[in-house]
């Protein structure tokens, strides 16, 4: 049994990283996630991890690459503009196949945008984000508890598939305080035979690179990555359903919007409208099959995706539904969080 406490999302995530056996953290302060590095700096004397406040997110992600390659259990956290800067490194890390965790506590964009919560980085996170053909598993926590649980899960997936894993949170989940159960610390015993730790006489040298200048070799590495992504799609899809069994209207939402949408479903049920909530937990791989199955049910009238952006995940919902049912969208932009009332009204409009 873990420890029950009351914590801010960003700090809970930092504490979870420590308990997961964090060996290195590299980051650059940016609102609304600076509490992560502050918390780790505060706790550092009690632990044995490396902590560097880097000169930029570019430097941070490349320190992460070096440290991951040296065999460390390592993490960085940032918010949207910083996550854009990190894309270069993520592409290299994905191709080199190094395990690490990156957290994006999303704020409103584009550009310098705002420091308020947003889901505007969905496309960037779920489509790789950087150059080249790659994906990263993307987890979408919707509570402070999941800010903790997803750190454990992210490190586990990173080690299992040798891939960077992204936690796509937002400014509200990062800043809000909730009850949280902190699991017991892990005694992390890494088994990383590929790590560059120095060539001993009994082994060949280890080269960590994403450079394969011959097209045939580069294609081979690409196919290896695609094979891995196929496995991840088969085995790691996670989602949650709420009142779906008899639902005629399927609200699809992740992260903070799934919390709002749960309330919306309750409004609907009180008004005699059979609504249900489908919540993707892994945003990549996206629960395509599960949504397609729901779309095949005769009782289902339409889907509506609720997001804090101009409509990004709705494209994945459409891909899943494959035209079987109408797919609508409602969202707010620029750091505004939709209220359950306005969201409910938007859904009611579609009923008419």
């Amino acid at each position: 049994m873990g420890e029950i406490t009351f914590m801010k999302g960003n700090e809970a995530l930092a504490e979870a990283a420590i308990r997961s056996g964090l060996q290195g953290y590299f980051g650059y302060p940016i609102t609304p996630q600076s509490e992560v590095i502050e918390y780790l700096a505060q706790q550092k004397p009690k632990h044995n991890y490396v902590l560097i406040q880097a000169e930029s997110e570019l430097a941070a992600v490349n320190m992460l690459y070096g440290a991951a390659g040296a065999g460390g259990r390592v993490m960085t956290t940032t918010s949207s503009p910083g996550f854009s800067l990190m894309q270069e490194g993520i592409s290299y890390i994905a191709c080199t196949e190094l395990p690490c965790v990156l957290v994006n506590v999303v704020r409103g964009g584009p550009g310098l945008g705002t420091i308020q919560p947003s889901q505007g980085d969905y496309f960037q996170a779920t489509r790789g984000g950087g150059h080249g053909d790659y994906y990263t598993p993307v987890l979408g926590p919707n509570s402070v508890q999941e800010m903790v649980d997803h750190v454990y899960l992210a490190f586990e997936l990173a080690d299992k598939y040798l891939t960077p894993v992204v936690i796509l949170s937002d400014g509200a989940i990062g800043q809000m305080m909730e009850k949280v159960i902190l699991p017991e610390p892990i005694q992390y015993k890494p088994n990383k035979p590929w790590a560059t730790t120095g060539k001993t006489v009994d082994r060949e040298r280890k080269i960590l690179t994403s450079l394969f200048i011959q097209s045939e070799v580069m294609e081979k590495r690409n196919l290896k990555l695609q094979e891995k992504y196929k496995k991840i799609k088969e085995n790691e899809v996670r989602f949650e359903e709420y009142q779906i069994d008899d639902a005629e209207i399927i609200v699809v939402a992740y992260g903070l919007c799934s919390r709002i949408s749960k309330k919306v479903v309750e409004f609907g049920r009180e008004a005699g409208i059979k609504m249900g909530l489908f919540r993707p937990i892994t945003l990549w791989p996206f629960p395509l099959k599960q949504l397609e199955e729901i779309a095949s049910k005769d009782r289902v009238k339409f889907f509506i995706s609720i997001e804090m952006n101009a409509g990004q995940m709705v494209e994945d919902v459409k891909l899943a539904v494959l035209g079987k049912k109408p797919v609508y969208f409602y969202g707010r932009l620029g750091g505004i969080v939709p209220t359950p009332e306005e969201t409910f009204n938007a859904i009611k409009e579609k009923l008419n």
Partner: protein, 253 residues
């Protein structure tokens, strides 16, 4: 002495016998050899991790029989930082060119030096972008012609060539900075000595060590290897003087 022959020269065991892609007359291969000789002599092959950059030495890991990581263009100092911090008892070096270290990676370079990261920079300054076909570098000399300054570098446009050894030596936590070359046997021996000293200082945990090699690029400079040595002596050394810019204070007895 064996069968009347005396071994006076050999390839270090730490240097693989792979055929190098470097152009004839280029110093890269010489510096590779010195670095690997030092690693062999100090018996640190099992402790050494190198970081390759983007540039002519992007394939360095094909030649060096040690663990290596490839860095994105300009990020070698950040990658080396990550490795050294996770494995502080290992010997780490970054091997970078002028475009990598002094243009796209200036921020990473300066901040690693400012933190006094305890690894060694091997900085090959040949005043040009060799790998991409001879474009202007931050270290291209005033008036020097390249494919992107075909009429010669205009300092009004592009500023002055950056003197990295001089800049780096200003940082408090940097232990050792020397600019060397390989244009003569005497200078080549000095270059090897400097690399060895840098690695030894790193082993002693003294802070950042930085070896700048005033190097050549016959292909990019569009001249013969021999002419490139003359250019070094007449044009490069007056602006980029060889010598020690910073070294650890001598320990008192």
């Amino acid at each position: 002495m064996k069968d009347g022959y005396k071994l006076i020269y050999k390839r270090p065991k730490t240097l693989l016998s792979t055929r190098m892609h470097y152009c004839p007359g280029c110093f890269h291969s010489t510096i590779h050899k010195f670095l690997m000789e030092v690693i062999e002599e100090l018996e640190i092959q099992d402790k050494t991790i190198g970081v390759c950059p983007v540039g002519c030495s992007v394939f360095a890991y094909d030649y060096l029989d040690i663990d290596m990581q490839e860095a994105a263009h300009g990020r070698a100092a950040a990658v080396a930082t990550g490795i050294k911090r996770i494995l502080p008892d290992r010997i780490v070096f970054s091997y970078q060119g002028d475009g990598d270290l002094a243009a796209i990676g200036t921020a990473e370079t300066l901040h690693a030096c400012n933190r006094g990261e305890n690894f060694t920079f091997i900085f090959i300054n040949n005043g040009i972008y060799g790998m991409t076909g001879g474009q202007m570098a931050p270290t291209t000399l005033e008036g020097q012609k390249t494919t992107t300054c075909p009429y010669g570098r205009e300092t009004a446009d592009s500023g002055m060539p950056m003197k990295m050894a001089e800049i780096i030596s200003q940082f408090e936590k940097v232990a050792y900075v020397e600019r060397v070359s390989c244009d003569t046997p005497a200078n080549a021996r000095k270059a090897k000595r400097a690399i060895k000293k840098a690695i030894e200082f790193q082993m002693q945990g003294l802070g950042t060590t930085f070896i700048e090699v005033a190097s050549n690029c016959p292909s990019g400079w569009k001249c013969t290897p021999e002419e490139s040595l003359k250019w070094l002596e007449e044009q490069v050394f007056p602006y980029f003087p060889l010598g020690v810019f910073k070294e650890p204070a001598k320990r008192r007895q």
